[in-house]
Amino acid sequence: MLFLSPLLLWFLAAASVPIAIHLINRRRHKTIRWAAMQFLLKASRESRGKKKLRHILILTCRALAVAALAVAAARPIVSGLIGWGGGSIDTVVLLLDRSASMEIKPGDGLDSRRQIVLAKVRDAMADLGSARLVLIDSASGQAQEIPSPEVLDTLSTTAATDTTADFPALLSRAAEFLAETPGRSEIWLASDLQASNWRAEDERWAAARAALAALPQKPAVRVLSITGPTSANSSVRLLGSRRSGDELLLDLEVLRSGEARGSSSIPLTTQLDGSRTTENLTIPGQSLRLQKRVALPAASESGHGWLSIPADGNPRDNVAFFAYGPDRPGKSLIVAAAGESAGYLELAAAPPGFGNLETQRVDPAQAAAAITADLAAIIWAAPLPTGPAADALQSFLTSGGHVLFLPPGIPSTTTFNDLKWADPTEAPAGKFFILSDWNRSDGPLSDGIDGTPIAADRLKAIRRQIPLGNTTPLARWEDGEPALIRRVFDHGTAWFLGSIPDYTWSNLGDADVLLPAIQRMITAGNDRFDASYIAKLGSPASRLMPGETRSRIDDYGSPDPANSEHEAGIHRLGERLLALNRPPREDTPEILTREILDSILEGTNYTLLDQAGQAGDPNLSRDVWRAFLIAMLFFLISEALLCLPKKTRQEAIPQANPSPISNN
């Protein structure tokens, strides 16, 4: 609670006047010589208890009435954001969530959540009077002093972006700023509480809390959350992009808001190098994943475009940008001795007549020389490498390549980054090792983009070698032993599959598992070349390198030049062509629960002001002097009622001077 006329609060001291008068009156008693003392003593004894309590209540009512009048005169302001614990605040640090999800509107015709929260903060700051406002927005992460709250919603640093927010980092930044700022301060976190922005599992929260606790004057933390219902919304996002010859394969996902029911038809507009086409997509439920093939102009080296859906509740999630470069063959290397196994591997890596794929088999001895940077994937069906070959493989992995290790078929103690093969084992006579459990959402055995599963359960093995190492299996044999494991090396990934496509080992060569697995690895390895044309906002690739300048070259929407580094679009960074999209985490609808918020802000004694369902209420603060006047009236009426004589029937004192009682 704040006061527009705080000086009048001095009149609160007047609340003590009734008590002082009472005490003075008690001291200023008059002495009287009294005869009827026996009644006085009896009355004094009997008047204790209820009478005293009544008198105390009367005094309390008088004091509170005066206090309420003084408070009302001081023009109190109650703000949900400021709360009742407010007072004179020197600095307010506003941590503003400028992520794409903040642009959703609570209802048709209303402002976005970001605009609503800015208006509320502006009004609250106007009530605070002379408090200093410092903005740390989620896009730039920089502290910026705001000269006047009135201009808050006109600043480029409060404008909409396609970025995500990183609240542990923002809170740490606020703590750093306040460490150098004396005086009483408050931190206001304005957000839609999107779980992905708050990163509850992030270890940096502990550091942020510690930094806040270490401040000489602990700031009050207030969370202004804008949640609740929203207008209907759909979003489109690009899951992947790959050029295959003169086609661009775009993996898309169209999401509908949680309230949407039934199927709906959404027009999807594709813009490629200036030409637009529109088609209708039928979305059967909440989401639709599809692969869109876009024919590229003949002999096109590179280009860009976007996919969009019509404007709706959130204008920031209706477009996905893409860019592409020259066609690159999917090159792979098979390191294996010649034989049946190598043959199956070659067929799986470059099936005849299947796209622009190239493969080459080399013996393990020549592997070191054959490993080059333009390879998409390497299939290593030999004892684990050592020496130069291991170094070359390590370098390939680090640069983003994918390597599939298959068992050497013989016992081997060689290790590669603490990973090794167990000795070969055979299934009991008449039985097989069957793949029974695999990850359907991650890895080379995951379901297709349209949800079609891989028939991995058809894999049966007579012999196997178990990959050993501290990793999480992505597939297991029926007996629980790992069949497929993964180890990530910086940008690249190494995979270990526990059997080989040889009829004396398994039916891996039947293509149910081997073909999609190897093709996906080659695609993933090759994507790192295409990925240089697509990045998400906030990633290292989206930032300017020394000597580069940024320009946005697409024609979608109304770009804000002052905010271009935080907006999705087709950007030219120096010589680089880059399609920048909002981070996928912005499309996740999960909202932070109160329990999680309690845990991540533990010890800050934060106040949560949830504006859920109150988007139409423009004010965070209210003038509540009337309430205090009503309170004063209440106290005065109570005092009057307490002062009323009791209604109990009192017998009259016998009249003096009646005619004498005659008993005769």
Binding site: H29, W34, A35, M37, A43, K646, P654, N657, P660
Partner: protein, 296 residues
């Protein structure tokens, strides 16, 4: 001249006799009924002669008519002896802004004593505290009044009340029936008061009680806290009168009810009198109420 004597008042009340409610046993003939049958002028009754009767009182005419002996009896009139018992305890000194209770008692006692002596009756005075018991024996002589007034004027109320002891003493000491007028605020134990009145009643005295109270004692209206100092024993109490007024009045009401009941039980005339009451109507009503019905 004493300040508690109002000659005008006395002259106005002079026409009203003071009557006794019970037959008196005076020493000399007077205007009051006597319990004895005697040779007065007013025939009372005939009764049969019994041996031992004075033969001089035989009605010979009745004997001649009936051949039986009858004694003719007449009402005997005698004088009245009045005792004024004035409570001189410290509480009688209270004056809530007007006249003190002792001063008011003086005026009542002096006025009635004057009227009694003036009509040939005797008036005596008894002044009591817990330590002092002054007494002026009753006398019919006019010169006696000066002694009566002088003693009354010298009374200085102090200490606790000695009323109960004084009443018992009077009841025991006065052999003949008398008119006992009690002037007090009766701030004493009501049970003991009842016993004392019953004692007087047993001795067949005519009792009148003037219960004197100050208007402030009854109204108990104050505008600020007060320190109340007991006039009798000096104890004090600081209180907010407004807070305890209800309880005070309840206790007072109980006290007055008890006192009235005790007086009623002892067949005593009881008057609750506040000290702001004009004396003339008070005494006129008192005297008029005591007149025999036929004289009204």
């Amino acid at each position: 001249m004493h300040d508690f004597i109002d000659n005008d008042l006395l002259s106005r009340l002079g026409s009203l006799p003071i009557e006794s409610r019970v037959p008196m046993m005076g020493n000399v003939a007077g205007k009051h009924r006597s319990p004895h049958r005697g040779s007065s002028v007013e025939f009372a009754e005939y009764r049969k002669y019994v041996p031992g009767d004075d033969t001089r009182r035989l009605d010979w005419k009745a004997f001649a008519r009936s051949d039986r002996f009858y004694i003719k009896e007449f009402e005997a009139d005698t004088n009245l002896r009045a005792y004024f018992v004035v409570d001189a305890s410290g509480s009688m000194n209270f004056a809530g802004g007007g006249e003190s209770k002792i001063q008011y008692a003086r005026r009542i006692a002096a006025s009635l004593a004057y009227l009694l002596v003036n009509q040939g009756d005797a008036a005596g005075l008894s002044i009591c505290t817990d330590k002092l018991h002054l007494e002026v024996p009753p006398s019919r002589r006019a010169a006696h009044l000066e002694r009566f007034f002088s003693t009354l004027g010298k009374v200085e109320p102090t200490g606790e009340t000695g009323l109960i002891d004084a009443l018992h003493t009077i009841a025991e000491k006065i052999g003949q029936r008398a008119f006992v007028v009690i002037l007090s605020d009766l701030f004493t134990d009501t049970a003991a008061l009842g016993e004392a009145l019953q004692h007087l009643r047993y001795r067949k005295h005519d009792i009148s009680v003037f219960h004197l109270m100050d208007p402030l004692e009854i109204g108990f209206e104050f505008d600020r806290p007060h320190r109340f100092v007991d006039l009798e024993d000096g104890t004090s109490l600081v209180a907010e009168p407004n807070l305890i007024a209800d309880e005070y009045k309840t206790a007072l009401r109980e006290f007055l009810t008890k006192v009235r009941a005790k007086c009623h039980d002892a067949s005593a005339d009881y008057q609750l009198v506040t000290t702001d009451t004009p004396l003339e109507p008070l005494l006129r009503d008192f005297l008029t109420a005591r007149l025999p019905k036929s004289k009204h």
